[in-house]
Symmetry: C2
Subunit: 183 residues, 2 copies
Amino acid sequence: MDRRQRKTREAIFRAFTNLLSEKDFMHITVGDIIDRADIGRATFYAHFETKDFLLKELCEELFCHIFDSMNNEHSDHRHIFNCDAPKSVFLHLFRHLSKNDNKILDLLSGRNNELFLQYFKTNLCKLIENQLPTFNADKNNSLPTDFRIKLIASTFVETVRWWVANGMKETPETITEYFLCAV
Amino acid sequence: MDRRQRKTREAIFRAFTNLLSEKDFMHITVGDIIDRADIGRATFYAHFETKDFLLKELCEELFCHIFDSMNNEHSDHRHIFNCDAPKSVFLHLFRHLSKNDNKILDLLSGRNNELFLQYFKTNLCKLIENQLPTFNADKNNSLPTDFRIKLIASTFVETVRWWVANGMKETPETITEYFLCAV
DNA sequence: TCTGTTACCGAACTGTTTGTTCAATATAAT
DNA sequence: ATTATATTGAACAAACAGTTCGGTAACAGA
């Protein structure tokens, strides 16, 4: 990739994430973004079709590679997760979230956390579907499977939300315990 | 209230809820609303400061009175809920949701259900806080209280979301069982 | 170093949306 | 009937979205 392209793209993402921690996505204008990124208007539209696509690509850059790496590790080194799954998988996830250059942390603690957690949830459901047999099925075994998956996903999301709202004081290990205790 | 005012207000709400079931709130313009409501532009702004305030007032009209009535019944006739709380409270809620003139149903099954369930959740947490001692505390008793409340609220919301996504085929009684089984 | 390619700039431009204003008209309240 | 108020339609400035294009700077390969 051209160095110029890369720099502009990074400048746009940086400006955009800054703005997201200040105001609603809905009220951020393209003008705001190009002012803060210090680039021309035409340049922005050369990179992203609309503001919505910018959000989409940011989310993919943030989350999808996490899940991809997760799935790869899961299939390549299945033994790692099978020793005490699903604990390892979610511990892994919480660790990723807690250290990703503080970029994810900023976005998740801002006004728009629902926005990102929505994207997050979509990927999460697939992951949980694979892990489902390893979950303790004592209590809500009688519930429909798709319902159970969504419940676990929303519990995970709510756990993350509570975690970041309280300043992420707990260790990933503790939070994993909380999550597994709740689900 | 002036009959003219009331009629315009209703026309705006009707047009707005129609549009909400068709496209994202973000992409609905004031022009769309006044066209469908068949009113003048100046009239819209005489009623609502912005599009966001219209959404806010719609949510209040839809949800807040439900919770108000709930809280009143709860304080006036405490015995009703104490016989087998928290079942009654949430059964009550599910019943409300399933029959409110199909207006709530439309909105909750549309593209913008996250939007409304967000408003919903805020009120829900207060209700759950009152009902908390009546919940089965066997499993996740060790978790922080505020965390437990948010978990229960998000489980309720996720239950509603799954319910409407599947066409609300289950009776309120069944869904209440599902919810209490999951929480 | 030279050359063709590609990205960025910035300024202008069209079309859309927002929110306001105002005089004229219609409806409600007393 | 008279007064008060809601609605209308049109026009308006300001903000915003998305496009176009000629000129400039940075890149990659020979």
